[in-house]
């Protein structure tokens, strides 16, 4: 909401300097977004009167003007325009004055004639153009010697305020003036327009009916005859331009001006295009189309409120007028509408049609239902003053019932203090409410009976008024206290600890946390469908911002691959990242939100110490990091097995499925080469996905200490030659099946292929640890156990023990 200080001054005295005024507005809930001081460079330009116009003796296209200034002799000015005549008030830039565009006017000799300055065109002063060739001719009321900036109000300060949706009353100069009056104690003055009405009466020009009183509780009109549509006066255009509004014509500008000033949206119809002189506010009744004045054809539904004439709709009530009845250059009779439309109805229609106008914006937020006619009169007076024309006698004012009924609200002193934590007395509560314009009817020590002013439709209940008391007293006057919080609750909750330990472990392994947007392209969701457990379809957004953010992600992998891409472009040699976040799917009407962990690992670890070569990231890095994290959470048993068909985007040979306690919890491995190639990735890109809900679910709630062994372990190694397709785990499984109870741990510690191992075979070495809890094992005892174990193993599996 933009307004100017001069405009405000027409309604309230500004007793505070601008800085303090802004501070007071901010602390009352009206955020000041900008303050712009407009001080045109042409401040020295003054109003003069032309006394005489003569031809220039040496140039056909120039004129010699004699003009009268406030003091001193007449001065002569050479002028290139010809639209002036004696008696006109014009703008003189005297010698030494500055004009826009770095121009300085000096006394000059033009074709042999001395010119004491320059007569200015609107364009030369960067004023809204009046579309006439030639210099600016001012209205006769401009007094000689006055600075033009003062006459036009061009020197002014524009304040831009952010108005919250509850404060529709602050969407006008008058509303802000009221607020300033309440805040500073200055008196509000609203000038009453003196209207000159002429016959015939309004009722002879138009008949008004309200057929939808629920949507239109009040509808008032005036009629003006003999109006001359032209540019509005320069002062009005200047002021409208200051607040960023484009001037159109006197009639239209006045409706905008009064709306900005009073907060009452107005609409002007060309009465000649109001068929049969009949106006009705009613529901559209049927589906139909209607062309609004912006030239767009709109589809109306039966419930939309429209203003109709004898034929059909002429306006989308409170939102936008129709193209057929708008004010044109040849309009002479004007029907001026000022109404109160109910906020919800306006909003429904405006929202459905996707229209936001200054008018609908105000109706939606609730205007003053009592000020309808005052604004209408103000506009009629301004039109008559600026576009000539006569005002028809009388107002037609259709009002449902006896007009707006204002609520009486009980405000309990104890309640005010209980909510705010204050010790205010009834009088201290009453004061700010009165300053707002509320009537405090009943007055007891325990409660006040308060009737809010008509323009504050947001004040409906006790708490609304408590807020006003707090607001006007100043939030800073409420003492801060520290409550005793006795609520029980889960604190951080059960997930945070394991999840945080998981994250920390991954960071210790060199993985950096990454956060990507939850929206991704549909293609990405097809390619990376997420964990098998996330059943159902992808969740699509109905108003997606773009095709690459059309759906909610099923997997964190695409976001990480995007990060990989970003960092590859930066020339990062290694990208190692993890992300924990939600993943989404839709199963019929039900939505699933899972929590997933994703990892991306690609490139080479930089050389750790100078001289050592960089080391390509490998499956072992991925598995090692995850295994460490599982271990830190004491998760067991964790199994890594060959991928089946869980993740088609992974390399079928270089990927694993991870189960915890036999339940599938994730996958890890290299990206499928075809997927890599499609993304322009070379080399192996290692990725992993885990279901964090399951991981946390299987994580033991507490760590239980195991006593330290009292007797030493004895180690024995065995190297086994197997087909190269054999997996280390198969032998581990077999060993644990045949192992006697004294076997404490079996570990793979080496793998070897090449001579002397035959082609197509490899050797895997296992270290087996034997330990008894009650004695030190002897070498002979262990040798016997170990030989038996090896013998059993070779019986069970087609393997050969390397000697």
């Amino acid at each position: 909401m933009k307004l100017t200080l001069n405009w405000l001054r027409e309604f309230v005295e500004l007793v505070l300097p601008i800085d303090e005024l802004c501070e007071a507005l901010v602390m009352a809930g009206l955020e000041v977004e900008a303050v712009a001081v407009h001080r045109p460079i042409w401040g020295a330009v003054e109003v003069v009167e032309i006394v005489n116009v003569a031809a220039h003796p040496n140039a056909d296209r120039l004129r010699l003007c004699e003009v009268r200034r406030a003091q001193g002799p007449l001065v002569r000015v050479v002028c290139g325009a010809s639209n002036m005549q004696a008696g006109d008030k014009v703008a003189l830039a005297p010698p030494g004055s500055d004009l826009p565009g770095d121009r300085r006017i000096e006394r000059a000799t033009i074709r042999g004639q001395i010119s004491e300055g320059m007569l200015c065109a609107a364009r030369e002063l960067a004023l809204p153009d009046d579309a006439t060739d030639g210099i600016l001719i001012l209205p006769p009321d401009a007094s000689i010697g006055r600075r033009l900036v003062d006459y036009l109000g061009a020197e002014d300060t524009v304040i831009d305020l952010a108005v919250t949706p509850n404060r529709g009353d602050c969407l006008s100069v008058l509303g802000i003036a009221r607020e300033i009056a309440a805040l500073t104690g200055a008196k509000l003055q609203v000038p009453a327009p003196a209207l000159r009405e002429d016959d015939p009466p309004t009722t002879s020009a138009v008949r008004v009916a309200v057929e939808a009183p629920d949507l239109c509780p009040r509808y008032a009109v005036r009629v003006l005859h003999g109006v001359c549509v032209a540019p509005s006066p320069l002062w009005m255009r200047t002021r409208l331009a200051l607040i960023g509004l484009h001037p159109i014509s006197n009639v239209v500008d006045v409706t905008n001006y009064v709306m900005l000033e009073r907060g009452q949206p107005l609409h002007a119809f060309d009465l000649a295009h109001v068929a049969n002189g009949r106006i009705s506010a009613r529901r559209a009744g049927t589906r139909q189309s209607f062309v609004t004045l912006d030239g767009v054809e709109r589809e109306l539904i039966p419930d939309d409120l429209v203003i109709t004439d004898g034929r059909g709709p002429v306006a989308l009530a409170g939102i936008m007028g129709g193209a057929d009845s708008e004010i044109r250059a040849d309009t002479t009779d004007v029907l001026l509408e000022s109404a109160y439309f109910t906020p919800a109805g306006i909003r429904r229609t405006a929202r459905r049609l996707g229209i936001t106008s200054d008018s609908s914006y105000r109706f939606e937020r609730g205007i003053d239902p009592v000020a309808t006619v005052a604004a209408l009169d103000r506009a009629a007076g301004l039109i008559a003053g600026t576009a000539s024309g006569t005002i028809a006698r009388g107002v037609i004012d259709k009002q449902v019932g006896r007009g707006a009924r204002l609520p009486t609200i009980r405000v309990r002193v104890a309640r005010v203090n209980a909510l705010l934590g204050t010790t205010l007395t009834a009088a201290e509560i009453e004061r700010p409410l009165r300053a707002l314009g509320a009537t405090v009817a009943g007055h007891a020590r325990a409660a006040l009976r308060v009737v809010p002013p008509s323009y504050r439709s947001d004040l409906q209940s006790e708490v609304d008024l408590i807020e006003e008391v707090a607001r006007l007293s100043g939030y800073e006057t409420i003492p801060a206290t520290t409550p005793a919080i006795v609520a029980g609750g889960p604190g951080f909750g059960p997930h945070r600890d394991p999840e945080e330990r998981f994250r920390q472990t991954l960071r210790t392994c060199g993985l950096t946390e990454m956060i990507a947007l939850a929206m991704i392209g549909a293609e990405e969701n097809r390619m990376f469908p997420g964990l098998p457990d996330l059943s159902g379809k992808p969740v699509a957004l109905r108003n997606a911002p773009s095709s690459d953010a059309a759906e909610l992600r099923r997997s964190l992998v695409p976001g990480l691959l995007q990060a990989l891409d970003v960092n590859r472009r930066q020339g990062e040699p290694l990208v190692a990242g993890y992300a924990i976040g939600r993943v989404y799917a839709c199963d019929g009407e039900r939505y699933h939100e899972g929590k997933a962990l994703g990892i991306v690992l690609a490139g080479a670890w930089p050389s750790a110490v100078i001289g050592e070569p960089p080391r390509p990231a490998s499956f072992a890095d991925l598995k090692g990091g995850l295994a460490l994290a599982f271990d830190r959470l004491a998760l067991a048993p964790v199994m890594w097995e060959s991928l089946q068909n869980e993740a088609p985007y992974l390399h079928p040979g270089k990927a694993a499925r991870i189960t915890i306690g036999g339940v599938l919890c994730g996958v890890a491995g290299a990206l499928h080469p075809d997927v890599s190639a499609a993304r322009g990735l070379d080399g192996d890109t290692w990725v992993a996905e885990l279901d964090m809900i399951r991981v946390v679910q299987y994580c033991p709630r507490r760590i239980v200490f195991r006593p330290l062994p009292r007797f030493p372990a004895v180690l024995r190694d065995v190297a086994i030659v197997v087909d190269s397709g054999f997996q280390a785990q198969q032998i581990l499984d077999a060993i644990s099946e045949v192992a006697p109870p004294l076997v404490e741990e079996v570990r793979v510690f080496d793998q070897y292929a090449g001579a002397p191992i035959p082609e197509g075979k490899k050797s895997i070495a296992y270290s087996i640890s034997y330990r008894a809890s009650d004695r030190t094992l002897t070498d002979e005892e262990v040798n016997t156990l170990h030989q038996e174990l090896v013998a059993h193993l070779t019986e069970r599996l087609p393997v050969e023990v390397r000697r």
Partner: protein, 344 residues
Amino acid sequence: MKATLDALGAEIENALDGCRSDEDLERVRIAYLGRKGRLTEVMRGVGALAPEERPAVGELANALKRRVDECITALRERWKAERRQHELERERLDVTLPGRVWPYGHVHPLTAALDEAVAIFVSLGFSVYEGPHIEDEYHNFEALNIPSDHPARDMHDTFFVDHTHILRTHTSPVQIRVMENQEPPIAAIAPGAVFRHDDDVTHSPMFHQVEGFLVDRAVTFGDLKGVLSLFVQRMFGDDTRLRFRPSFFPFTEPSAEIDISCVICGGARAVNGGTCRVCKATGWLEILGAGMIHPAVFRAVGYDPEVVTGFAFGVGIERVAMLKYGITDIRLLFQNDLRFLRQF
């Protein structure tokens, strides 16, 4: 005799001064203290002196011998230590070479800020709750006193999923969900992602909030001020000042926006002679929205607003992180550029 000893002492001192090695020392020792050494001989000669001279001269001779012994030992040890030092210095490392690059991953600044905020509130007695991101309109709007034809909905550019579901536009629906399932007193926070359909470069369609609320029998606006002051001062430092400004949220009344004194200029509105750009020369930064929970919200969850009161607040974590770390472009937070992430 005394003169002879003095002369011999000076001579030995000279000889020791000329020593450069253990071998030199040994030669000097043998020459003077050996079995046939000169001092040894002088000492033997003491017995031939008159009995009254013997004790004094004997004492002098013994003292000289002790001095020479000590001197030789000291020199030997000094040289030994010097040789050891020299030897070790030859094993010298170039300590200016880089150390081993231990892998270390970084925490995302949003997580760091979110965790810090959560930890502060938990330390004050609040408990953490989560809610769905795909929310129904009832919990996101209606129950929070935002009816469908209310202009306050314009404050939320909503992503729609189906005719009743949206992506939550704030964390406030968790308030409703928690209150629907519990009776007061409740002290809860709800951290997490929220979504708004903003094309603006200063906004991200996904961002993070921490919602918090306290409901009990006599919670006041003063309590809200107290709790948020504690939070802000722990988050941004004890000398951070707060300003509570009236504002509007449909689900709280009275409502407030909370500004903190600018983290860059400290409220002075200017830095290094120029106006402060971070606070746009206002000295204040908007950081939180808050207020007393609206009676309509309590009624929606079946609480009696005459019996319980409460406050609620919401803080934008992106903003907190940006202010805390001086990040100027929100998009950096979601690009995952390692040059950025490595700084945290």
